[in-house]
Subunit: 486 residues, 2 copies
């Protein structure tokens, strides 16, 4: 299995520029492109098809856990944002403001939502009256805007697409259970099973909390260059927003109480995660469950009489695969060679290629080529749908396994700050560093200044016991993940 | 069938206020509510679930006709809007402007997209090089903003949700075929079959053309008060946008030519159409194919021992209906009576109610009640899924038939302008008036001023021949629909 373990980072090591590879593959695979509006991207059809498959599978999980979708306005009055002090402080520098509507100046500027806790909180205050109204379990799919100075397609754009869940609960305990249910049963399950990206669920430090939250949890994934990507977050908002917006209910005991709220989001940033986790020197590798195209058929012929026979069989095979629920496309282009097509679809990361030429027609077979291992096999036409289904599942598992093994190899334990610093300076072998931390924000900030590494999170899965803080040497009981991050 | 033909308009005649009924039913059925942002609404979960079912079924048709989805930025630079002169003139009074991002004033204000022809045209100019690149067949689902002075939920809101298709073609003929394909095979098919709303496809007059288009086609539906709703539009944009944005291609003959473009949109306005076409004095009536809940089960019991038996059977029935692909919910509330629940779900327009009480448990049956006719029938548990499936289809057909018959009754032919004026003044019997029109914009404008009726469209289905213009009496060869409109 040696070839399977050859990761693109190693392959790309000569190029020495993962960042350039990322922009290049997005451009060539027609996933997205720059728009004439600063920091906003155009998501092209191939990139958007990936997002649609991701959306549907994530949405299914959100609904299966009892949530319903709704839709709130794009605009938030300035005064709303200001009601939660920490919240406005966190978001003010990133807000785009509408000051004119038609030909009139607005008396109060309207923020384009950077996130919707405030306007939703305002409505929840009226929707919640009694404990019988609880919990409220809602979500919305929406565009949001955060005016970013430095942008990168999918990872950080001024406008992005996401879902934001907003729930209201009777007790702190229930809110905490919801926060973790979303983190693990919804996000982690989706990202690991469908996107084939292994993640580490954990608690964010105070410094990295969502503005206005009690506790923020995240899922952290390792990208192909060893950097971390925060790929989804889930917040227990405590009673902060409930108090700012008056979300109160009459409890069974007759008392009026403030509710507990949560919010959680996952965005088009996940697409960047898919690219940077699975891509290799030949381009993208799409996880089969969300791949826009799962099988690309390349018909091959040289002379006219061959053409008819190949066309007939390709059309039949396409139909039989489609009937089996497989997302298949035929590359009928005539102006390019089969070899050109192979490269083109490898670049786009289609999990399986099916070559059908005149000799295959005679033998009643097709040749399947895996994108992940390049392994080839001839398969009789009659069993193609069954074999493709099996291979797609194998590729799905294999991508996960490769990403998991890569993360294992690139996860280190550091005993001293020097060791941590050296790890963060070794660009070719960058990765996650596990170490003890005392919990002091000063140590966290100093480490960041000196190494550019941040505490990604405090994993839910703690080894227990205690050790010495990697920075100050005091007794520490938090086992944390350090990494450079996107 | 007399009861089936009793329409809510008649039933509501005493109230004499269809408009008040509309706002009231939206509020009570929790479809939507006002937001704190002027002219923007909150689409509540029940309203949004309807939209999701509509979206999926319309999106399926858009894809089945060869289109793919993508996503363009929310923002459009002011200079882009100005490139197409007619376009900016039409939209300028309705644009919301972003003038500040974070803490900086923008050098060029950004429009929140009122529609996206301009920014998409800019990209298409780069995507199209050769005739081999054509056609481009793309669509996006997005929010748009038009700063409206007078708003009504779903029908006219400052922000609304829609899909906007944008295509590029080699010839005028191909663009025209696309425009009509969308109008009839996509929109009309969806609206008539799934929303059970009969529509009239036709050409808009020059006065009502989309700003910048060559020809605009629309689908016009009759609402329960006899007014018209323009429920979807499809535009042949000619070469106007291609020339403004430089969408050119090298044709097979080697010449560089301007392309032909189309655009087409349908929005959350369609939800208003569903409400105003099918609603009656008891509330909404949801067309089964898009109903968020197709069957509501109301369990009935008085004493504790009854309760267990009813609960067991209800749970089994719920499962069997769900397994049959039916969208079913059980109203388990204990604090309200069954009678209250009946009203509540009738208000929300759930097509079928299933009552299950102790005697039903003994008889191994449930009682199905249709929302449209109130007809009741007892059905053995084993055959419930099959019977429900049949009834849902019957209700779907019946809603369409009622709406169609209502439109027939309320469609008049006028021989004189006096007759047209009288029809438009008879509020209780308002409807569509068919008449000849000479094609002169002056006649059209005068009729509007005097009667408030507009030409809805020039139906594709023309009787042929000619007559005398309803206003000026000159020879006229356009058979048109006049109506008051939303």
């Amino acid at each position: 299995m040696a070839t399977e373990e050859t990761r693109y980072v190693e392959e790309l090591a000569d190029k020495d520029d993962f960042s350039e590879w990322y922009l290049d593959v997005i451009h060539k695979a027609e996933m997205a492109e720059e728009s004439p509006v600063r920091g906003c991207m155009i998501i092209r059809p191939y990139g958007f098809a990936l997002w649609e498959h991701m959306q549907r599978r994530l949405d299914d999980r959100i609904k299966a856990t009892g949530h319903e979708n709704f839709y709130f306005p794009l605009f938030i009055p300035e005064s709303f944002l200001r009601r939660e002090a920490e919240h406005i402080e966190g978001f003010a520098p990133e807000v785009a403001w509408v000051t004119r509507g038609g030909n009139e100046e607005l008396t109060e500027p309207l923020a384009i939502r950077p996130t919707s806790e405030t306007i939703i909180g305002y409505a929840y205050a009226r929707w919640v009256q009694s404990y019988r109204d609880l919990p409220l379990l809602y979500n919305q799919w929406a565009n949001v805007v955060r005016w970013e100075k430095r942008t990168r397609p999918f990872l950080r754009t001024s406008e992005f697409l996401w879902q934001e869940g907003h729930t209201v609960h009777r007790t702190e305990d229930e809110a905490e259970r919801e926060t973790l249910l979303i983190l693990r049963e919804v996000y982690q399950d989706f990202i690991e099973r469908d996107l084939a990206i292994p993640v580490i669920p954990g608690l964010k430090t105070e410094a990295e909390r969502f503005a206005g939250a009690l506790r923020t949890y995240s899922l952290e994934a390792m990208m192909g260059d060893g950097k971390a990507l925060q790929i989804a977050t889930s917040h227990n908002l405590g009673q902060g927003f409930a108090k700012s917006f008056g979300i109160q209910f009459q409890d069974a005991d007759g008392e009026r109480k403030y509710a507990w709220t949560t919010s959680w989001g996952a965005s088009t940033r996940m697409i960047g995660g898919v690219i940077m986790t699975h891509g290799d020197a030949s381009g993208l590798r799409m996880p089969p469950r969300v791949a826009p195209i799962q099988v690309i058929i390349v018909p091959i012929w040289r002379k006219a009489p061959e053409r008819d026979a190949v066309t007939t069989m390709v059309t039949e095979v396409e139909q039989s695969l489609r009937s089996a629920g497989i997302r298949v496309r035929v590359d009928w282009r005539e102006e390019v060679t089969p070899g050109y097509k192979y490269n083109d679809w490898e670049l786009r990361g289609v999990p399986l290629r099916l070559e059908i030429g005149p000799r295959d027609v005679q033998a009643g077979q097709g040749v399947l080529v895996r994108r992940d291992t390049r392994a080839r096999e001839s398969v009789p036409v009659a069993t193609l749908p069954a074999r493709v289904t099996i291979l797609l599942e194998e590729i799905q598992q294999s991508l996960y396994k490769q990403a998991w093994e890569f993360r294992q190899r690139r996860t280190y334990r550091a005993q001293s700050f020097t060791e941590l610093s050296e790890r963060m300076a070794d660009r070719r072998n960058l990765g996650f560093v596990e170490a003890w931390w005392c919990g002091d924000a000063t140590c966290e900030a100093e480490i960041k200044t000196r190494t550019q590494a941040t505490i990604r999170n405090i994993p839910l899965n703690q080894p227990g016991g205690s050790g010495r803080c990697i920075f100050c040497g005091r007794t520490a009981n938090k086992w944390v993940i350090f990494a450079k991050a996107y």
